[in-house]
């Protein structure tokens, strides 16, 4: 049987490539275990649930990752050209069957497991008695509206919108329900209270995003989208825009304040007083 003599340096190349892949695998596993750059702590039971699913996924994909990369490194080193005969085979139906079924069970099972959290966020509405807050995005600011003592949203009109003269949502002054609507550039919610948000936008697509809530939802022109959350840890959290909305996308920022019920009531009273 005619064969070419293996190229010089083949062992060195095999060794180097296998070593790089092993080193890369070890460093990657270390980085994911060290968590130097990681999620901020979750501030809701929902967020904790998301984190648990993330860890499940991380463990499963991590095992597959390590096995596949180390397997690749192994065959590269082990089966470098040493002038031997190859082991001739063209496939193995049993193996194909086994790893197909195994990956179906693993991947689809993982997907099904993760659907609980999604269902909780989206299939169920907010709990009864939830505090309603309307969130409106515009280039490049967020506005948060509370219905006020009457519990009714006042009418808004596009032609009345004027961010420069202090009516960013275009509230209609002739509508009595609009008179007590509180519009704030930051968001206040009481801790441990179910909050239902109505997300909308005036101009282009934005995305309401609070890392600590593990929530992100696009604000889509022409739509009002409902989401709900229950934040249990008081504090100041940044709200960012997560959908490219124009040149000021990177600075379309606001704050979510999760405060005690007493502080929340005080904030609402101050806002109402400012409206008078």
């Amino acid at each position: 049987m005619h064969r070419k003599i293996s190229e010089k340096g083949s062992a060195a190349i095999a060794f180097c490539l296998a070593l790089i892949i092993v080193a890369f695998t070890v460093i990657t596993v270390y980085m994911f275990a060290a968590k130097s750059w990681w999620f901020p702590p979750a501030i809701s039971a929902f967020g904790t649930q998301i984190d648990a699913q993330f860890h499940r996924t991380l463990v499963i994909t991590g095992i597959v990752f390590v096995l596949a990369q180390l397997g690749l490194a192994w065959v590269i080193f082990r089966y470098r050209d040493q002038g031997r005969k190859v082991e001739f085979f063209e496939g193995n139906s049993t193996l194909e069957f086994v790893w197909t079924v195994a990956t179906v069970v693993l991947f689809v099972g993982l997907g099904l497991y993760g659907e609980h959290a999604w269902a909780e966020a989206h299939f169920q509405g907010a709990a009864p008695g939830a505090l309603q807050v309307e969130i409106t995005g515009q280039q490049f600011a967020w506005n948060f509206r509370y219905a006020g003592p009457d519990g009714k949203w006042g009418q808004t009109k596009p032609e009345l919108v004027s961010a420069s003269s202090g009516n960013p949502l275009g509230l209609d002054p002739r509508d009595p329900a609009a008179k007590d609507d509180i519009v704030s550039p930051t968001m206040y919610v009481p801790e441990g209270r179910e909050v239902e948000v109505l997300i909308r936008t005036q101009d282009v697509t934005h995305s309401f995003y609070v890392r600590e809530l593990r929530l992100k939802q696009d604000a889509v022109p022409g739509m009002v989208i409902h989401m709900h959350f229950n934040a249990t840890v008081p504090g100041e959290y940044e709200i960012a825009c997560a959908e490219l909305c124009g040149l000021g996308h990177y600075r379309m920022r606001s704050f979510l304040y999760v405060v005690s019920q007493a502080d929340y009531d005080k904030w609402i009273r101050d806002q109402e007083a400012a409206l008078q």
Binding site: W37, V86, G91, N92, V220, G222
Partner: protein, 584 residues
């Protein structure tokens, strides 16, 4: 199967223009596509380099930024054009239109593509598309700032939503529409050629996996680009003719009510775009899978493990690729119930991808690996494909997507899988077929150096991006000071930028090798790798009609390496059985 018309409707042209510019020869057209992609990839890399420098040194004085310091809108224009040029002009063009054009007809034993004039037209329409897009940089307001996904209403309302959203965005959408036409023409040609022009004995079961990959990619392109073309036309009408396909009523942009639009839906664009956009990912990566399978088998000196499973997996990926577009839209406001279905379909598409990985490892198992540069890039492809594919299992779950969507985690994922894995497929193909295309070998020492730096480098660029994403870093941020939680991430950005500068600079090694070897490379000969498929049966470079009038007959499958009892460790597909020894 159609036999070839013999007796010269197809003479080699003599003039320079008919030979090299408006050529109908698939080989010249393939090289034209390749050069278009080569120009585009260096343009796209330069744009990304400027973005990386700006993120880390925002006050840096850069070339091409009037006024010296880069503005947010200039940054976003780079984001848009980098994505658009890389996805369409590089990842769609080089592996399919470039190598597919050059190699596919030869590998199936055809003298040319089925429609040579249409083939020429496809290339020149692509060229026009690139010119139109690049022109967007030079019009008032500059290039568009809405990203390669161009979501309305940002992309639909015109100048009022931002600089670049006027003439720049219009040119962008026209350019993209033209590209769709070119891709449709190309896809028709690929499918017809593969079905009709196979040589005697070249049954579907004997096709090289590269041909299967190009065929399936062409089917995907035929079904996907038509939808994108429709979307582009609707968007163009919204922008220029006052229609409202994507624009609802009642909008107010910077205190100006938009009164002339009503009744449209921004989500319609997203559905149309991603119905194209997800198959597009596979249009970019399938040819790379084909090349990886082909190169791994050739330099393992072993048959591909599970040929039928490989073909089946590619077909499954092609089919499922059309059923998963909604996973780009989990947080778009789309029905959460359909998100459930899209999620499960997406987890399912991981299965054929895993099958391919197992079979590549199976091909390497028991091999005698020859570490050519082409092989190194194919091995790198497998590693990148695993890494980039697994992060998809996070993003496929809508509950995790609530956090990870539109963060750098996504940027890391798609750059690894459809960006650099596909690029590694292109590099592998380049090192592998360069000798056939230009008659000389690429320099292996420079090639290996290029591989080491690129392989380590792309991991240094894109792995840290996962951690930016886990820390919640949104993508497409022109500046890192707008949000406080980005402050601790500067060190990571710094590392990424330095890595990108090294990797991009080192691509000049490849460019040097590419042009230097045309003149000074080792003479290749017909079959420098002892490979089996038909392109190695003819001279390098091949004559005008590929087989000099003697179209070979095919006697066996494409990967007869190491067959016990054979005279050599490889049996070419066209070798008559009597000469092969005990053929498998």
């Amino acid at each position: 199967m159609v036999t070839h018309e013999s007796g010269g409707h197809h003479h080699p042209p003599t003039g320079f223009i008919r030979k090299y510019i408006f050529s109908v020869d698939h080989k010249v057209i393939g090289i034209q596509y390749y050069f278009l992609a080569l120009f585009s990839v260096f343009l796209g890399m330069t744009l990304s380099l400027l973005m990386r420098i700006h993120l880390v040194w925002p006050a840096a004085k850069l070339p091409f930024t009037p006024g010296g310091v880069m503005t947010p809108e200039q940054y976003l224009a780079l984001v848009t054009m980098h994505g658009t040029i890389m996805v369409f002009m590089v990842l769609t063009t080089a592996p399919q239109s470039g190598f597919g054009n050059y190699i596919l007809p030869i590998q199936i034993g055809a003298e040319d593509m089925a429609f040579p004039v249409l083939n020429m037209l496809s290339f020149w329409v692509t060229f026009v598309s690139l010119m139109v897009m690049v022109t967007a940089f030079f019009v008032t307001g500059g290039a568009p700032i809405s990203g390669w996904t161009a979501y309305p209403t940002l992309s639909a309302l015109g100048q009022i939503t931002g600089p670049g959203q006027g003439a720049g965005q219009t040119l962008w959408v026209i350019g993209l529409g033209i590209f769709c036409v070119a891709s449709l023409l190309g896809a028709l040609n690929f499918i017809t050629t593969t079905i009709d022009l196979r040589a005697k004995g070249m049954t579907f079961g004997r096709l090289p996996l590269t041909v299967w990959a190009w065929l399936i990619t062409a089917v995907l392109a035929l079904l996907a680009f038509g939808v994108l073309l429709a979307a582009c036309i609707l968007l163009l009408l919204d922008r220029t003719a006052g229609t409202s396909f994507f624009i609802p009523g009642g909008l107010v942009v910077t205190d100006t009510p938009i009164t002339w639009h009503k009744g449209g839906s921004p989500l319609l664009w997203q559905h149309l775009f991603w119905f194209f956009g997800h198959p597009e990912v596979y249009i970019a990566i399938l040819p790379g899978m084909g090349v990886a399978s082909h190169v791994l088998s050739t330099f393992s000196r072993k048959p591909v493990f599970g040929y039928r499973a490989m073909v089946g997996a590619m077909c499954a990926i092609g089919f499922l690729g059309f059923c998963v577009w909604g996973h780009h839209m989990f947080i778009s406001g789309m029905s959460p119930y359909s998100a459930f279905a899209f999620s499960l379909m997406t987890m399912t598409i991981g299965v054929p991808s895993a099958i391919k990985t197992f079979n590549w490892l199976g091909t390497l198992w028991g091999a005698q690996i020859r570490f050519t540069t082409a092989m190194l890039f194919a091995l790198g492809f497998v590693s990148l494909f695993v890494t980039g594919g697994l992060s998809g299992l996070f993003l496929a779950q809508p509950s995790l997507d609530l956090y990870l969507h539109d963060t750098y985690f996504v940027v890391a994922h798609f750059h690894l899988i459809m960006g650099v894995a596909a690029i590694f497929g292109i590099f592998s193909a380049t090192y592998f077929w360069y000798p056939k295309m230009f008659g000389r070998m690429l320099n292996e020492s420079i090639g290996r150096l290029h591989f080491w730096i690129t392989f380590v480098g792309v991991y240094c660029i894109f792995m840290p991006m996962h951690f930016l994403g886990l820390a919640g870093h949104p993508r497409r941020y022109a500046d890192l000071t707008g949000v406080n939680f980005l402050a601790p991430l500067h060190a990571v950005h710094y590392f990424i930028t330095i890595s990108a500068m090294v990797v991009i600079t080192m691509q000049l090694l490849f460019l040097f090798n590419f042009f230097y070897s045309m003149k000074a490379g080792k003479i290749a000969g017909d079959n420098p790798y002892e490979a089996t498929t038909l392109e190695w049966a003819i001279p390098s470079p091949p004559p005008f009609d590929n087989f000099a009038g003697q179209v070979p007959v095919v006697y066996r499958g494409a990967y007869e390496f190491g067959v016990p009892g054979a005279h050599a460790d490889f049996i070419p597909q066209h070798l008559v059985p009597a000469k092969a020894g005990r053929s498998h």
